[in-house]
Amino acid sequence: MNSVLAARGLVKTYGDVHALAGVDIDIKAGDVLAVVGPSGSGKTTLLHVLSGILRADSGDVFLDGRAIGELNETGRSELRRTAFGFVFQSGMLVAELTAEENAALPMLLAGRSREESLGAARLWLARLGLQTLEKRRPAELSGGQAQRVAIARALAHRPRVIFADEPTGALDTRTGQEMMSALLQAAEETNAAVVIVTHDKAIADRALRVVEIQDGRIAPKVIEEAVSA
């Protein structure tokens, strides 16, 4: 099976600091990859480079075999909007929008109609058990509910890859596990690959594969086929 997303020889430096020092990685459709490592090891930089938020100094990222480093900022924005989905710590929902509008936002930004976008958003919110909360604002939701809305937002436009940056960082253990279950189940339904950056071992354990970043490199000991839930 070919990789949906592949990285070859990624190098990224900030001054004298080598955030990434030659990273190779392959992610297949339906894959769930956890990136772990100590603070400052380069795991968030890896997520940013893989998702096209940052350009690598050298090396490149390939989506379905196409180098995304060749794209300009507009092209990479479009890629993130259409092919990728994002789940951030604390949801990072737009405070003024309702749950359904937040979930519909990527589709609206991609030019899809109001009815189509809101319809798909409501469907995903219902799948995630939020059908009664679709008119609520983020401030009126619990942390776990807000993260589920963020998952609906990340998945509603059926992305190829979902990037999750410390998605359970602001949640308690139980809510975090529930949120992970929801994310993995939803991703499985759409056959989307999931890349999770976390420092929580319990969350990493839910991934199919775990890579550890140390000093900008993938650590020699790579835990393949981790225990899945």
Binding site: T44, H48, S51, I53, L54, T74, S77, E78, L79, R80, R81, T82, F84, G85, F86, F88, Q89, M92, L93, V94, A95, E96, L97, T98, E101, L105, P106, L108, L109, S113, R114, R137, P138, A139, R153, D165
Partner: protein, 728 residues
């Protein structure tokens, strides 16, 4: 306090906010000081020219003074013909070296220079005698003012005075108190946007600060500690801004001194605010900013968990506009009846109240606009803007408040200006524009006939009444129609003696207007009446043959002129009939035009300041709102949202409330403008109240200003990195 200072040292966004607070306060302080000093400029002029207020000073004084206005080459000349009535010292004001005896002349430096460079028959001969000195700046209204004090043996038609000093030194009653009213109106409508700017600066990045302080409250900080932290954080920028504002006010006052008013610029010291005012503004501005910041923290202090909740606005705020309008119109009614220093107080309070009511009611209209677009959006930028407007209308409107006040001010000014133009009393079209008429003539005109070859029209002015007490009757001219028609508008002559009048006289008793030695005569029982189409002060012209006993009597002299001989005739009239009052079309137009130019210039400057203040306030608020939502915008950009979509949303956020509220502000401005015009008309005694489509122009200008201000958040938005979602 240590935490607050540590935040300022380390957090770049807090540093940016502090700089913006300092800039906002600096601009507001320097502008408020300038505004408060503006009436001082008028007062300084009034103080320097107090010596000219000689009318009615004394019934029997040691000198006689005839005060007249003259003009040359489009410039106004203030002329004082003086004569000693008795021996002894004559007190003179500062700037006047000595009292000019007969044959002596004092000129202002600018007039002395003009006389030197102009042929004597055109100008110099108007001031017969030897120049014995120049007037100092202490006696002049403005640096290039043209003033002459001419000494004579005797002054016809002069007023008795104790000396060339004293006087009220007040501009309060100048131009029927209208200028006093307009300066106060300008003060009120410009102070409000200054306060709005200060409040906007105080609320910069408030959302971020609220979150941080809410976290500190939840961690156990007491309300007092939170308030102190906010006060310290805000005070740093506010105090620095206030000091800079005071410093900036100095060069600002020098620039203001270059702006002409009543025909001339100012002395640099005219616009100095008193030390007490400077200290009061410098202290009050930071206090207001800190108070605004602390007031904004009420929710965090009282309910830390509610920091993210949005405030609701109640529709009853709209009633405040009606209430403020009520106060304003009560003030108008009071001002029409009252007099003295408190005459306009209620009007001005009402005006300020209307401006503040618009600012308070703005969020209600903003929420309505937001809800309208939330129900009808088709593009994500409209949804984002609509939700922002309906979800937090107070924050969304904050940036627009200054623009709204600018539109209110603009509509008010444009409503008033055409009306004020019709109220300029010196636009008297009684006489033909090429005619120069000397009034209050008690002189022998032989010397005038010798001095000029131009035709001389002699007339006698007076009234025709029933002769009963308190019946003053219409104002008429006695003179030969064929002669008078050379200088008077609306007269078409026919052969034979007649009365030319627009309406029949009630009485038949003529009495001349001469202050001394008035003559009386009676019209015959039967006389021919012919139409008179004049539309000035004069109601009729009577042939002297119909009034036996007035032949040869002269109180007015008119001379039709050409472009070539105009200055020479003017000079001959003034030189041979010292102390007379000249009514000259050029002079009338000059005075009226100067006043209208001044009002238009003041309006343009005032509106420009209001628009700039509004624009700065809107830009600062828009930029602050982007900084407040930096993480959310960072996450949206990371998720692929094009910056242009966010830019559209932000522009709509600024533009939509401006559009909605400026229409209301324009309406309020028109109503208030008409109220002020009614008051001004009452003060002046006449005038029209035309309403032109231009009163709507401020709405369009307000939209443009808001758009430019909204564009200012573009660089801030572009400065946001998609990685900022993780920053805090």
């Amino acid at each position: 306090m240590r935490i607050a200072l540590a935040v300022l040292r380390r957090d770049r966004r807090s540093q940016v906010a502090t700089v913006l607070v300092a800039l906002g306060v600096m601009i507001a302080v320097s502008l408020v000081l300038w505004l408060l000093a503006a009436p001082n400029g008028l007062q300084a002029r009034a103080d320097r020219t107090a010596w000219r207020d000689v009318l009615g000073q004394s019934q029997k004084g040691p000198i006689s003074v005839a005060v007249n206005k003259d003009s040359f080459d489009g410039k106004l000349i203030e002329r004082f013909d003086v004569a000693r009535n008795q021996q002894g010292d004559v007190p003179v004001a500062k700037g006047i070296g000595k009292f000019p005896e007969a044959g002596q002349v004092l000129l202002s430096p600018a007039l002395a220079e003009l006389v030197r460079g102009t042929p004597a028959e055109k100008l110099g001969n108007r001031f017969p005698g030897t120049q014995v000195g120049v007037l100092g700046p202490e006696a002049l209204k403005y640096p290039d003012e043209l003033v002459a004090i001419i000494g004579h043996d005797k002054v016809e038609s002069g007023y008795q005075a104790a000396g060339l000093e004293g006087g009220s030194g007040s501009y309060r009653d100048d131009y029927h108190g209208m200028l006093y009213l307009l300066t106060r109106v300008g003060l009120v409508v410009l102070v409000v946007p200054c306060l709005v700017l200060v409040a906007s600066a105080a609320r910069l990045t408030a959302a971020k600060r609220e979150r941080r302080l809410a976290a500190l409250r939840l961690a156990g900080a007491s309300p007092r500690q939170v308030v102190i932290m906010t006060a310290v954080e805000t005070a740093v920028g506010a105090v620095v801004g206030s000091v800079l504002g005071v410093v900036l006010a100095q060069p600002f006052s020098h620039i203001t001194a270059k702006i002409p008013w009543e025909g001339g610029t100012w002395y640099p010291g005219d616009f100095g605010a008193s030390p007490a005012v400077v200290v009061a503004v410098a202290v009050l501005a930071p206090v207001l900013v800190i108070a605004a910041a602390i007031m904004g923290l009420r929710r965090v202090v009282n309910r830390p968990l509610a920091a993210e909740e949005k405030r609701r606005v109640r529709s009853w705020r709209l009633l405040m506009i009606a209430g403020a309008m009520g106060v304003f119109f009560l003030g108008i009614m009071y001002a029409q009846e009252a007099s003295g220093d408190g005459q306009f107080t209620v009007v001005l309070l009402g005006l300020g109240a209307v401006a503040f009511a618009l600012v308070l009611a703005g969020p209600v209209l903003t929420a309505w606009v937001g809800r309208f677009f939330v129900g009808r959006w088709s593009r994500p930028s409209t949804l984002l803007a609509g939700r922002r407007l309906s979800g937090d209308p107070v924050a969304a409107f904050r940036g627009s408040a200054g623009v709204v006040i600018a539109v209110f001010t603009g509509s008010m000014a444009l409503t008033m200006l055409p009306g004020l133009e019709s109220q300029v009393p010196y636009r008297d079209e009684t006489w033909k524009t090429d005619a120069i008429v000397a009034e209050d003539v008690g002189h022998d005109v032989t010397s005038l006939r010798l001095a000029t070859s131009a035709p001389i029209v002699t007339m006698l002015d007076g009234t025709v009444s029933t002769g009963k007490e308190n019946d003053y009757g219409p104002y008429v001219i006695v003179g030969k129609c064929a002669d008078v028609s050379q200088v008077l508008n609306g007269l078409t002559c026919q052969e034979g003696p007649a009365v030319y009048t627009s309406g029949k006289f009630n009485g038949d008793q003529f009495k001349s207007n001469a202050r001394d030695n008035a003559v009386t005569a009676k019209l015959p029982a039967q006389y021919e009446t012919r139409p008179f189409a004049g539309y000035g002060r004069i109601s009729g012209v009577i042939d002297p043959e119909l009034l036996p006993g007035v032949e040869g009597k002269v109180s007015m002299v008119g001379v039709p002129t050409t472009a070539e001989n105009r200055d020479a005739v003017h000079t001959a009239l003034i030189g041979t009939l010292p102390g007379v009052r000249l009514v000259d079309g050029e002079l009338r137009g000059l005075y009226g035009d100067t006043l209208m130019d001044d009002l238009q210039r003041a309006t343009i400057i005032g509106l420009s300041i209001a628009a700039v203040l509004g624009g700065i306030g809107a830009a600062v608020s828009a930029a602050g709102s982007v900084i407040d939502r930096r993480r959310t915008f960072g996450a949206l950009i990371a998720a692929g949202t094009p910056i242009r979509v966010l830019g559209h949303a932000l522009r709509r956020e600024v533009m939509l409330p401006v559009f909605a509220v400026t229409i209301a502000a324009c309406g309020a401005g028109i109503v208030v403008g008409l109220g002020l015009l009614t008051l001004a008309r009452g003060l002046v005694g006449h005038g029209e109240m035309p309403l032109t489509p231009w009163v709507l122009a401020p709405v369009a200008v307000g939209m443009v200003v808001a758009l430019v201000a909204a564009l200012a958040c573009g660089p801030v938005l572009r400065g946001i990195s998609p990685r900022d979602y993780a920053a805090e």
